[in-house]
């Protein structure tokens, strides 16, 4: 019985592995499907991974919004970094910490991955316990720009959670904890 439950939890991973196998062969055929399934089973048995707690939710409209905004952001941030590479002179960077509101491994992974590609930020570190993300911003002009970027990060979190999060995750967005992102940075600094 436990085996069946485990297999059911592993199902998304199995489907993904079979899909990759078929894509690598370039054709979808029964032979590829069967051999892919066998190999996926062998791989997941020999190299077991801890199961990822999936939220099991997917909202197509919100996901499309996230994807569209992501592609636009990718274009903008690529252009920005390219311009910085060509431009003579130096630019100022910043390292900021942002208090996130999500408490889900999978969602935090998606957020961190997306943040590394867009809006001019790079994930340095994540305090999993307090959901505090440390980011490096490639170019900032002034303090107001830093705050705008911080708002961008929270907006990204918002879009990801609304696309893939459970109802509880979305509720967490609207009820910020005791520490707001604005006071977080100053608190951390004054603690030193």
């Amino acid at each position: 019985m436990a085996r069946v439950t485990r297999l059911r939890r592993q199902l998304p991973l199995l489907v993904w592995l079979v899909l990759v196998w078929n894509l690598l062969w370039g054709t979808f055929s029964w032979a590829n499907l069967i051999s892919g399934t066998l190999i996926a089973l062998v791989v997941t048995t020999l190299l077991p991974l801890p199961t990822v707690q999936t939220t099991g939710r997917f909202r197509p409209v919100a996901a499309l919004r996230f994807l569209g905004r992501f592609l636009v952001d990718l274009l903008v941030s690529s252009a920005e970094v390219s311009w910085l590479a060509f431009r003579p002179g130096r630019h100022r960077s910043a390292i900021i910490t942002v208090q996130l509101r999500t408490d889900s491994d999978l969602l935090l992974t998606v957020i961190a991955e997306a943040l590394s590609l867009v809006p001019g930020s790079l994930v340095l570190d994540l305090d999993r316990e307090h959901q505090v993300l440390a980011l490096h911003l490639v170019q900032v002009r002034d303090q107001a720009h830093v705050e705008r970027q911080r708002a961008n990060v929270l907006g990204m979190e918002d879009r990801v959670v609304r696309a893939f999060g459970s109802a509880a995750d979305i509720a967490a967005l609207d009820t910020p904890g005791a520490r707001t992102p604005e006071t977080e940075g100053t608190e951390r600094m004054s603690q030193r």
Binding site: V20, N22, L23, L24, W25, G26, T27, L74, L75, S77, S78, E80, V81, S82, L84, A85, F86, R90, H91, R92, S93, A94, I95, I96, T97, A112, E113, A114, L115, S116, L117, V118, G120, L122, V123, L124, D125, L126, D127, H130, V132, A134, H136, V138, V140, D142, Q143, V146, G185, R188, M189, R192
Partner: protein, 143 residues
């Protein structure tokens, strides 16, 4: 030359150009963290564009699916590797703090930095770097 050919050529050339700027950024940017920006954003978009151009040209062939896979894995892995490198760079303090406007993780901006004798040569002498586990210079570990 059909419209598809034009679109494919534009994608290929734009993608190559972005990869070039990524390489240029790697050379020109002042520290590891900035370089990692160049290694993620223009690089990923460049590869995506090259793959798009190639898919348009090769549509119908089995190899197309492999190109899709390349694009997906580029999106998945580039941020992770950039994160790992920049995290180590930060902990080894290969960071040009004098170029930071704000640093909410370590010392406040503008504070004197006793650990960096030669700010002009950030990568000068790797042995001069103390391990990040050092007692007083430890950057705030949020991990």
């Amino acid at each position: 030359m059909s419209i598809a050919d034009v679109v494919a050529s534009v994608c290929l050339v734009a993608g190559c150009f972005l990869c070039l700027t990524a390489g240029l950024g790697l050379v020109r940017f002042p520290d590891v963290l900035n370089r990692m920006h160049a290694a993620t954003k223009p690089q990923v978009l460049g590869v995506l564009l090259v793959m798009t151009g190639a898919v348009i040209r090769l549509v119908g062939e089995p190899i197309v699916w492999m190109l899709v896979l390349v694009a997906v894995f580029q999106l998945l892995t580039a941020p992770v590797s950039a994160h790992m490198v920049s995290r180590i760079a930060y902990r080894r303090r290969h960071v040009r703090r004098d170029l930071l406007l704000v640093d909410e993780l370590g010392t406040p901006a503008g504070a004197p930095l006793p650990t960096r004798p030669h700010p002009e040569h950030p990568e000068g002498d790797p042995d001069a770097d103390e391990p990040a586990d050092g007692p007083e210079a430890t950057p705030r570990t949020i991990s």
